[in-house]
């Protein structure tokens, strides 16, 4: 079932990214969670696994936007996002023969890309080591609670720079789930498969991410335009 905070008909699902409309609408995916977005991609995938370069190029075309956008939102830097996207597809090329179809290809590819992004974050000096750690931020990194005193609410208009800054300030695990769900439009069951966590954990991480963003945006709702 869909997340009412993200109305089904408003999911951000770009054309040609391998997702079907039912999935975009937040309903259980019509395709099997398995293998590919449809017979066409299954055929392309099979040819790519057999070493067909043209088919691999088609896979790139199908998935490049979501992989690049994931990298871009995770690292916040265009050049770095390009490098990470390149590395993700190079690894895909090396490992595509090992894809057995036990999960959706998109899920498998995203998991591969997520691991590359996490390794990059570790190289940059963040303390992340594994997906498990990404999914379990330190207690002090959790969002504030909202009991008792009246809160200052968001005005309804959120500035892009402020949101970018707030997202960049999230612990990596929160950021991952927020990007995968609210930006890329994945469902919790898909995210759970990508991150090897429970669906409940995915829901919880997303909620904490939104709460933490709320705290950050109320503290600093707008960034002044810089000359």
């Amino acid at each position: 079932m869909s997340d009412p905070i993200h109305p089904p008909n408003q999911k951000s699902t770009p054309k040609g990214d391998g997702r079907n409309n039912a999935e975009a609408a937040g309903t259980p995916p019509a395709r099997s969670q398995t293998t590919a977005a449809g017979p066409a991609e299954a055929d392309v995938l099979a040819r790519a696994q057999a070493g067909d370069h043209q088919a691999f190029a088609q896979l790139y075309s199908l998935h490049k936007r979501r992989i690049y956008s994931l990298c871009l939102r995770m690292v916040g830097n265009v050049a770095e996002a390009e490098d990470l996207t390149q590395e993700a597809f190079l690894q895909l090329h090396r490992k595509i023969g090992t894809f057995r179809g036990d999960s959706a290809f998109s899920t498998w590819l995203h998991r591969l890309a997520i691991n590359i992004v996490l390794m990059q974050l570790r190289k940059k000096g963040l303390t992340l080591i594994s997906l498990d750690e990404a999914m379990e931020p330190a207690p002090e990194e959790g969002p504030g609670r909202s009991f008792g005193a009246p809160d200052l609410t968001l005005s309804g208009a959120i500035d892009r720079l402020a949101l970018e800054r707030a997202v960049a300030g999230l612990p990596a695990g929160y950021r991952l789930v927020f990007i995968l769900h609210d930006v890329e439009g994945f469902e919790h069951n898909e995210i759970a498969a990508m991150l090897d966590c429970s669906i409940g954990n995915s829901k919880s991480q997303l909620h904490k991410a939104r709460l933490k963003l709320r705290d950050a945006l109320r503290t600093n709702p707008r960034q002044e335009a810089r000359p």
Binding site: M1, D3, P4, I5, H6, S12, T13, P14, G26, H53, A57, Y60, K64, R65, R66, Y68, S69, A81, E82, T85, Q86, L90, Q91, H93, R94, K95, T98, F99, D102, S103, W108, H110, R111, L112, I114, N115, S130, L131, E133, R145, F147, G148, P150, D151, T153, L154, I158, L163, V167, F178, V183, E184, H188, G200, S202, K203, H207, R210, R214, L217
Partner: protein
């Protein structure tokens, strides 16, 4: 923590919010919200944030030159005979103690 209509405190309601929202139940119709401005505001803010993410963070295309770079790198790998599939550094991160099959992001259990 204050008792609210529907026999639920704000803390209890908010503790249920991840599941209420994530499971697709209509949290806005929850009895607790009828007389709780605090939780109404919280839910409205969460909706605003989710909507802002969709509006302000579109899925973006990588530059066309990126495919050229990938093609070039693939060609170099093929010419040098690099496979890479067995290289530890190219494998996915795994939690410590978890078996790594070296087979990419496929979960070992599957």
């Amino acid at each position: 923590m204050t008792d609210r209509p529907g026999d639920m405190s704000c803390e209890e309601f908010q503790s249920q919010l991840p599941e209420l929202i994530g499971s697709g139940k209509v949290a806005a119709n929850h009895p607790h919200l009828k007389d709780c401005a605090l939780c109404q505001a919280l839910l409205a803010d969460l909706e605003t944030i989710a909507e802002a993410a969709r509006q302000l963070f579109p899925i973006e295309d990588p530059p066309p030159k990126l495919w050229e770079k990938i093609e070039s790198a693939l060609k170099n790998e093929e010419e040098s005979g690099v496979d890479g599939s067995g290289e530890p550094e190219s494998g996915p991160e795994r939690p410590e103690g978890e078996e790594d099959s070296g087979a990419g992001p496929e979960k070992p259990k599957e």
